[in-house]
């Protein structure tokens, strides 16, 4: 089985010539394999491998109007959470023969528009997207209308002209936040602060809603539920927490939305000489090394990022392969509360 390295530029024509058959026979043999005699199949395979033939996807795409590529728009791949999602999605899509194209949007609608425009001419077969905001829904709706299958990642599902929501992978942040808040309330906390960098995206919104719902259902004075929302000047987590913890009355527990925030909270607590959990209970939304390894280890809300990526890829593949009709257009992933040592009853 000899193999000559292709110096690029071996076309289907060359294969046809070497195999002594027609162009289309080669195409058929190499693709479907339908309506191809054994002899031709064999000769073509031999010729192709001898020449080191590699089909040209550009040309193929031009004909078939499908690129074998899927776009992925995320706020920021360097965020470990997103990165994990992307990796899982990439693995699924790769196995199905697709290439993943990533574009960072920095949660910036302008960037997102730009990316959408740039991807439009590329004939992407589908998109995984975490939209930056609602103002931008139009650009996605356009893509949807143009027939590009889209799967939304943990954001509000878009609705098309017929009010059919696009497929989406959602995480049950509300239930998670409720579990976390209930846990703190059960420990005796009545002044709980929730720190977040945004309140607009679906995940934060849902968490905040869950947080409030627990206060309401428990009949606790809602004034105890402090919301600290602060679009991020770089030092927000630490600075914001310092301010919060210096206030009176001080919250006895803090729910930190995200690794960044958690880091700030822990730093601030240390700066103030507050001991966790004796002086302050800390609960992280999102489980990372930082939470798991910190001293003391931080109780955290966790959900499977791999599952998010996988589910998104599956939903998309389902639509790409046209299976299952409209079934299972939505996936809701559970959130789990990982009990560790950062929460305790408030000091009397």
């Amino acid at each position: 089985m000899e193999e000559i390295v292709s110096r690029s530029g071996v076309t289907i024509r060359d294969v046809a010539r070497v195999a002594g058959v027609s162009l289309s026979s080669v195409s058929r043999a190499l693709n479907g394999g339908k309506n191809v005699s054994a002899r031709i199949a064999r000769d073509v395979a031999a010729a192709a491998s001898t020449l080191g033939y590699q089909p040209d996807f550009m040309a193929r795409s031009l004909r078939t109007r499908s690129s074998g590529m899927v776009g992925c728009l995320v706020p920021d791949v360097s965020n470990p959470l997103n990165a994990t999602i992307v990796r899982a999605a990439e693995a699924c899509l790769r196995d199905a023969g697709y290439l993943l194209i990533i574009a960072n949007t920095a949660n910036d609608p302008a960037r997102e528009r730009e990316a959408a425009a740039r991807l439009r001419g590329r004939r992407l077969d589908g998109m995984l997207v975490a939209p930056a905001g609602d103002g931008n829904a139009r650009i996605w709706r356009d893509l949807v209308a143009a027939g590009t299958p889209i799967v939304i990642l943990d954001r509000d599902p878009l609705e098309d002209e017929d009010d059919i929501p696009s497929p989406a992978v959602l995480v049950d942040h509300r239930a998670g936040a409720m579990a976390a808040t209930r846990y703190l309330v059960a420990l005796g906390h009545r002044r709980i602060a929730l720190l977040t960098a945004d309140a607009d995206m679906r995940p934060s919104r849902e968490r905040i809603a869950g947080f409030r719902a627990v206060f309401a259902e428990a009949g606790i004075d809602a004034a105890g539920a402090q919301l600290c929302i602060q679009a991020s000047p770089m030092d927000f987590p630490q600075g914001g927490t310092l301010a919060l913890l210096r206030g009176t009355p001080r919250p006895t527990a803090i729910i930190a939305l995200g690794t960044r925030i958690l880091a700030g909270v822990l730093r601030a607590a240390r700066d103030l000489g507050l001991s966790v959990p004796r002086d302050l209970s800390v609960l992280s939304v999102g489980d990372t090394d930082l939470a798991a390894v910190h001293t003391p280890p931080i109780t955290a809300l966790r959900w499977s990022l791999e599952d998010v990526g996988r589910a998104a890829a599956d939903l998309l593949l389902q639509r790409l392969h046209g299976v299952g009709g409209q079934a299972q257009a939505r996936t809701l992933l559970p959130v789990e509360l990982v009990l560790r040592e950062s929460c305790a009853p408030p000091a009397a």
Copy 2:
């Protein structure tokens, strides 16, 4: 300036018809703009925007033999270090009009081969790659030989047939490791363990070399330099460290190569009731939230991942745009020692 949303399928032909000019004039007007009268330029622009024309990159690529895409092969995007590099590179390349395609190789040569094969037919204009090992050099050399510009990320540079090494972005891990080791030695440590999950890739190799070099140059008994290399069963960091710390004599300081390892070390120290830095000094190679926020904060070796990504993208763009000849084919990035509170003189 009215704008009608394209329902996809607006070709250059349509623009030509609407603008009342020929196909080629549109192409010229839209691209170079050379040899185009002002009138035509205006009419074409108007028509294009009215129709919401988007050039078809597939078709264009077929003609020009360049896809406007760059591949990026990394072991694992979900590793925050890689992810940061990827993000920085993506930003640079995007600004230059390129799309980034990522492929995870899991440091697995087989995967890498597969990815290389899959990307070959796509006419990628270039590649950023962190090769998984040396056995695979051939597949890259083939690509290089076929004319695809490649930039190596923090791995041994490949050499082509004429022994010209490929462009590469290297981090000065050896100097970093030396600085770290010297620091510990200066504190009085004589039994220092270096924990790593691999010893083959360039970064680890260089660090180990630096580590040993310091022992040699200081004339310290090399037996004090304990190397703990362990390809990762999932619990290696913790388990391996436990074993190490139970041994006699126990190392008084540990250098942890990577976040994963650091997490394991910290966990193990906690399990054993060892206080950092009183009973054990810990130094992290690679600076992350975990190191910065831990109690106590961990002294760490840091280098700019953004710079790695940016430098790689720049090197590649330089070659893509054919500027600068062969100049500046190599970038060596510095490593910095961030002093924090996890290292102290060993207990007497």
